[in-house]
Amino acid sequence: MTSKQKEIFLKKRYRAENRFKFFGIFSITLAVSFLGILLFNIFSSGLSAFFKTKILLKINFDEKKLGININTSEKEIKASNFNEILQEALLNLDLLTPELKKIELIDIVSVDATYELKRFYLKHKDQLNKMIEVSLTLSDDLDQLHKGNFPRDIPEDRRRFSDFQLKVFDEQNAQNKIITEFNFSFFTNADSRDPELAGIGSSLMGSLLTLLVCLILSFPIGILAAIYLEEFAPKNKITEIIEINVNNLAAVPSIVFGLLGLGIFLNYFYLPRSTPLVGGLVLALMTLPRIIIPCRAALKAVPPSIREGALALGASKVQTVMHNVVPLAMPGTLSGTIIGLSQALGETAPLILIGMVAFINVVPFYPIDPSAVLPVQVYLWSESAERGFVEKTSATIIILIFFLAFMNSFAIYLRNKFERKWS
Amino acid sequence: MNKPSHIVKSYEEQLKLLEETIIKMGTKAEEQLSMSIDAFAKKDLELARKIIAEDEVIDAYENSIEHQVVNLIALRQPMGIDLRETVTALKISSDLERIGDLSKNIAKKTMLINKNLSVNLINSFNLLGNKVKKQLKSVIDSYLERSKNFAKNVWESDEQADILTNQCMEDVIKYLKEDEQNLQNGAQLLFIAKNLERIGDHTTNIAEQVYFLVTGEYLEGDRPKNTESEML
């Protein structure tokens, strides 16, 4: 080959290299931009759900109208009616309201406003017979309007609030009576038909309880199964079949596990429907192979010299495995487990089948309380008609993504920490 | 001895070079010895001077061998047969160097002899010289052919050289008794005889080395010796 040919050959090689580099960068850019668009989309529509719009109303806690006095017990206060003073305050916003429009005026606050008043009074009993300004949640339609999620210039018959409500809202806004607060109730409230009241409290707790059940079941079972298969099981046809089936199980569509749960846990064992217990059981079934496989891989990656070293010292097989092999395989196993759990966290289909799609308006505390889970909540809200649920859906996705990112980072952290230590 | 060659070719070549240098050195020593005997017999001063001058060649060979041996030990760490080859090369070369020196010495003494000697005396020296020369040639052949029997023969036949040395000595003593004037020449003759005997001893040393080289064992037991020569 002459030097000229060599030069041409070299150039060709470099061109090929550059081409490859370009395609690589192009693919990454494409992938990153898709992800960026997705995240932007979710965050731009979801962030507003973390805030809620409130109106400052002058309320007169008139003991005659409330039918209570300073000595009234808490129980009685809860049973008393705060609607009258609320309506009075609302009607005071526009004294010239025609009779027909009064109902519209009362509707500008959420249905929860009367309970908000009650909660406020329970904390401030000294306000009896006084006039005080209380912030009350606006109805979701005006909330959406205030956040700019709903255009105000479309005809009245095509929006969910009237011109009159709009006028009152604008007047109050001009007087700085409309305020925005961080939406704590989004995290603490259970689901509700009214978007301004709906929260992820129930599904967040549900998800946590479900994952807990799933972890408690699948982690020890998965690890023990993996250790036995990898270290102790004789290499024969039966273990081979088990091995193949474990791998197949990991590839089974999750909805099949849902059907299994429905058939066995609900219809045969009569476990309580739509509870984290059953959800966790189903997800544990699904997660098992996903823990067994990385755990076995981690065990396989432990150098045989470690086993030999322990055996040569006269350690028994169990001692060798438990004292020396398993600790080395732990980081891989833990990160595999966490990734398996984060997949379980995002699972929807099998949970729908076991009834976790039900409308749950209380926050669960035990694995046997009916509850929702985050991904199913997303599914539920995305189907709702109200404008207010759009931002809630996105906000729930943000929470879900945050959780997944947290769990995956934790997995990476564990892996790095232990690997640095022992190798 | 038929052995497969080394995996590392350059090692093989170095060992071969060492062997060749020994043989060249041996041949040169043989030549020097032969010339010194001739120079003595014919009283050839020219030849004697040449011998003295050419001793440097032998010294150069010795240096070269020493160098090669040190390199082999340092860089190749020879084992087994290679180790014996290397170590014996060093010892053989030092014996050969001594033989070269002794030949040079014979040439020097020859130059100091200022009278013609009797044929009888010269014959006696020729007999010894040729015997020693034959021994040297045999021992170098034994090295070349890696023959332990050859080597052992040389080792054993040194006794004859001792007998011839004694004969020589007796002749020289007779010569000394003939005339007081002979004292100076007689002394030189004694040295020459002794030198020839020493060369014979060095050939037996080499024979021992060759035997060790081939067998890995030492030639043991007393070498047959004529004790009388030791007394002188």
């Binding site: 030999e308 040569a312 010292l313 350690a315 004292h323 020396n324 | 084992m79």
Partner: protein, 255 residues
């Protein structure tokens, strides 16, 4: 020599991996308080042989060991004999340093713990210190016993493994190419250690380095294709071996 006591004696030892025979009729005697080196080309059965001496071949399902192996006159190649007891008596050091994923202290303490050799913490401390001192590692690690053993250098790790082996006070130490992963200085330290340890233990070392075998051992065995071709004093093997193949192997003329 007089006072030579035979520590390990094998007779007609045959080893099979499945249908493939790895060792053929190995009958040798290993002398107490001597270092025996086993040399030979890769795959000749040296490692298989020493793994018979502490029954490490039991781990391999398809491996079958036939014949007699006696340590102090007691047969160890018996099915009903507990291998853990043999391994307590016959320690092993491997090619690659393989410290456990534990601290330096726990690496040494592991053996005594599982065999119940220490009654209390003080005993254990003594064993650890004693073992590390014997392995000439104490001065280098005494201030960092709680740090992981894997943080040491390769040579230190190997000495840690030797200390670990010593910790359960075996009679015999088997070493399977203990220096093949180490630099010359670390190798020299291990060799010096072997020299000292032979006063107490009987040592069998497999090595690919001729010069190492020559330096550390008193007896040498040459394995070739599963047979032992020559077993002799190290001096004899490296100066003037009887077997022509041994000669060719040690001088680098093989094949």
């Amino acid at each position: 020599m007089i006072n030579e006591k035979i520590k390990i004696s094998t007779k007609n030892l045959n080893v099979f991996y499945g249908s493939k025979q790895a060792l053929f009729d190995i009958s040798i005697n290993l002398v107490q308080n001597k270092v025996t080196a086993l040399i030979g080309p890769s795959g000749c059965g040296k490692s298989t042989f020493i793994r018979c001496l502490n029954r490490m071949n039991d781990v391999i399902d398809i491996c079958k060991v036939e014949g007699s192996i006696k340590i102090d006159g007691d047969e160890i190649n018996k099915k009903d004999l507990d291998v853990n007891l043999i391994r307590e008596k016959v320690g092993m050091v491997f090619q690659k340093p393989n410290p456990f994923p534990k601290s330096i202290y726990d690496n040494i303490a592991y053996g005594p713990r599982i065999h119940g050799l220490a009654e209390n913490r003080e005993d254990l401390d003594n064993i650890v210190e004693h073992s590390l001192k014997k392995a000439a590692l104490w001065d280098e690690v005494k201030d960092r016993l709680t740090q992981p053993g894997t943080g040491l250098s390769g040579g230190q790790q190997q000495r840690l493994c030797i200390a670990r082996t010593i910790s359960i006070n075996p009679d015999v130490i088997l070493m399977d190419e203990p220096c093949s992963a180490l630099d010359p200085i670390a190798t020299a330290k291990i060799e010096e250690l072997i020299d000292e340890l032979k006063e107490i233990y009987t040592i069998v070392i497999v090595t690919h380095s001729m010069s190492q075998a020559a330096r550390v051992s008193q007896d040498t065995g040459f394995f070739h294709l599963g047979k032992i071709l020559e077993f002799n004093s190290t001096e004899k093997i490296f100066k003037n071996p009887d077997n022509k193949l041994t000669q060719d192997y040690i001088t680098g003329r093989f094949g």
